[in-house]
């Protein structure tokens, strides 16, 4: 204190201090730069890489079909099932009805326990269960036939071969990925529903809304704010899990098509690079989509609202005077 009289004058003025230095940032920068340079050098000069071939692979009709149908469309369809089933499971799980909440719990337990690759494999073989094919109609109608002599009560039937083809193909993939993902979406949706204040349920109920209306109009829209960000992660994970579809087998799928080409040509690295690039592009596009969804469901909350509050705050006074 005593020796610094000149720095601490009576009324301190403008600060002209030495900024804190960050020497390690420069070290880190140098290390990263060297690593990136090495990697780039390797990718460009290595004889195992052939960028022209990578481009060629990316342009193959079969690869593009695999990307659009097996990866992109499959992701969309599976996630639609997952979100719908997941939200229903979450509502069931939170209901007062012990049967519903128990069933939802068992569902989540079952599908979270089975690795997706195993589940896809299993789905492909499930046709074996349906030796008589699959029908839509009155359950256990054959018992009625035995007792009452009624005819078969079935509106719609397919034989076992068809069931095999469905479960062991694209539909099986959508179903298995969608139902498995629903178990994870259920947990996400449950967290979202629980994040909505009880007062919201009560205010809506006090206006005379039925439980369904309370859920649809008041609780779910608010829960979406909490549900959307982790769901974005799930979508991106799903994009990558479509690469497991060959277990079924589904062959219109990006990764499978690329491995076919690499197996045929022995150009493994450049072929895989094609898949990697497509996955990067797809994920980037999805991240943009997620950003807009978050904005949509963030209405009235968070930063957007805050900024407008600041603007509105200027006029609060006169408004309040009325």
């Amino acid at each position: 204190m005593s020796g610094h009289g000149s720095v601490e004058d009576a009324r301190p003025g403008r600060i002209d201090a030495v900024e804190v230095r960050h020497p390690w940032r420069w070290v880190a920068l140098a290390v990263i730069a060297v690593l990136v340079a090495m990697l780039a050098h390797l990718l460009v000069t290595s004889p195992a890489f052939d960028w022209a071939f990578t481009l060629e692979v990316m342009n193959q009709t079969a690869v593009i079909r695999g990307l659009l149908l097996g990866t992109l469309l499959m992701t969309v369809l599976a996630m639609v099932i997952a979100v719908v089933v997941g939200v229903l499971l979450a509502i069931a799980r939170l209901s007062d009805n012990p049967l519903l909440s128990g069933a939802a719990w068992v569902y989540t337990w079952f599908f979270r326990s089975i690795p997706r690759y195993v589940l896809l494999f299993l789905t492909g073989t499930l046709g074996a269960l349906f030796a008589d094919g699959l029908s839509l109609g009155v359950p256990f109608d054959f018992l009625l036939t035995d007792v009452l002599g009624t005819p078969e009560l079935r509106f719609f039937s397919v034989d076992q071969a068809t069931v095999y083809a469905w479960l062991g193909g694209y539909a099986g993939g959508v179903l298995a990925l969608g139902l498995s993902e629903a178990a994870y979406m259920a947990e996400i949706a449950r967290a979202g529903l629980l994040s909505v204040d009880r007062g919201q349920h009560e205010a809506a109920a006090a206006l005379g809304m039925t439980q369904r209306q309370v859920m649809r109009r008041v609780v779910l829209p608010q829960a979406m704010r909490v549900i959307v960000p982790p769901t974005g992660n799930e979508v991106i994970a799903m994009v990558k899990d479509t690469s497991l579809l060959s277990a079924l087998p589904v062959t219109v799928e990006l990764f499978y098509q690329v491995t076919l080409i690499s197996g045929r040509t022995y150009q493994v690295l450049p072929a895989l690079a094609a898949a990697v690039i497509y996955y990067l592009v797809l994920t980037s596009v999805l991240m943009v989509g997620q950003h807009f969804l978050e904005r949509r469901f963030g209405r009235g909350f968070g930063q957007g609202a805050g900024a407008r509050t600041a603007a509105a705050g200027v006029a609060v006074g006169p408004g309040a005077q009325k």
Partner: protein, 262 residues
């Protein structure tokens, strides 16, 4: 419902009992509220005021006694000589005629002020959108928020939010308005604007049951003041009697404490 209902009080609560687990929170509460009347419920914290108010619109389910609003049993139905609890849809229908304003506003944060007010008339009453909007604008103007209709709740002050909440409840054209400490979550300088709106409603003949700690408001606006403690009504009467000349020691002690706060 029945003929001669006009002479009946709009709200008739008889011997209402309510327990949470082992704890009996309401121990035989009686209350009559006539159409056009303003009743203020006073009482210390934990005396059961909020719980009783929530029983009137079946947000809580009562264990004993009966509550009738406009002659209709709330939450129950007498059928074949037995009482039956009403299913959710029927209870929802009963709540449509009873507006409620909460301590913490509970506006829908994802909707603008205008949407908050039109939501229930459109979805629940099936009022045409244009008509609901027109009425909502009129109501928002009435509570002094004509220039705030497109703001989200997060963009409004507490007092403004509570006034939107009042407009939201009024939009259903309720027969009865319930207020649970509508001003106690507000900064002191915002209390006045909400009480002003409520004063106006009272003057217009709105039937109101108001839980409040605003003794001055109760004294000025209430037709009947009810003092509750320990889950029972200790004292009731005109504001002049209950607030001006309380007969019970507990009422006197409570009023002394509340006035000290002012």
């Amino acid at each position: 419902m029945s003929a001669g209902a006009a002479r009946e009080p709009l709200v008739r609560a008889v011997n209402v009992h309510k327990s949470f687990g082992q704890v009996e929170v309401l121990r035989g509460v009686d209350l009559d509220v006539h159409a056009g009347e303003v009743v203020c419920l006073l009482g210390p914290s934990g005396s059961g005021k909020t719980t009783f108010l929530r029983c009137i619109n079946a947000l809580e389910r009562i264990d004993g006694g009966r509550i009738r609003v406009d002659g209709e049993l709330i939450g129950l139905e007498e059928r074949g000589g037995r009482l039956h609890r009403l299913p959710d849809a029927r209870i929802a229908a009963q709540r449509r005629d009873i507006g409620m304003v909460f301590q913490r506003f509970n506006l829908f944060p994802h909707m603008t002020a205008l949407e908050n007010v039109t939501e229930a008339p459109v979805r629940v009453r099936g009022v045409a959108r244009a008509e609901a909007r027109e009425r909502a604008l009129a109501l928002l103007e009435r509570v002094g928020l004509a220039d705030r209709v497109h703001n989200y709740p997060a963009q409004l002050s507490g007092g403004q939010q509570q006034r939107v909440a009042i407009a939201r409840a009024l939009a259903m054209r309720p027969k009865l308005m319930l207020f649970d400490e509508p001003t106690s979550a507000l900064d002191p300088e915002l209390v006045g604007e909400v009480l002003a709106v409520m004063r106006e409603l009272a003057a217009d003949g709105t039937t109101m049951v108001v839980v409040t700690h605003e003794v001055a408001f109760a004294r000025e606006v209430a037709d009947q003041v009810v003092f509750m403690d320990g889950g029972v009504v200790v004292e009731r009467g005109t504001p002049a009697d209950v607030i001006g000349a309380p007969r019970h020691e507990r009422t006197r002690a409570f009023l002394a404490r509340v006035r000290d706060d002012d």
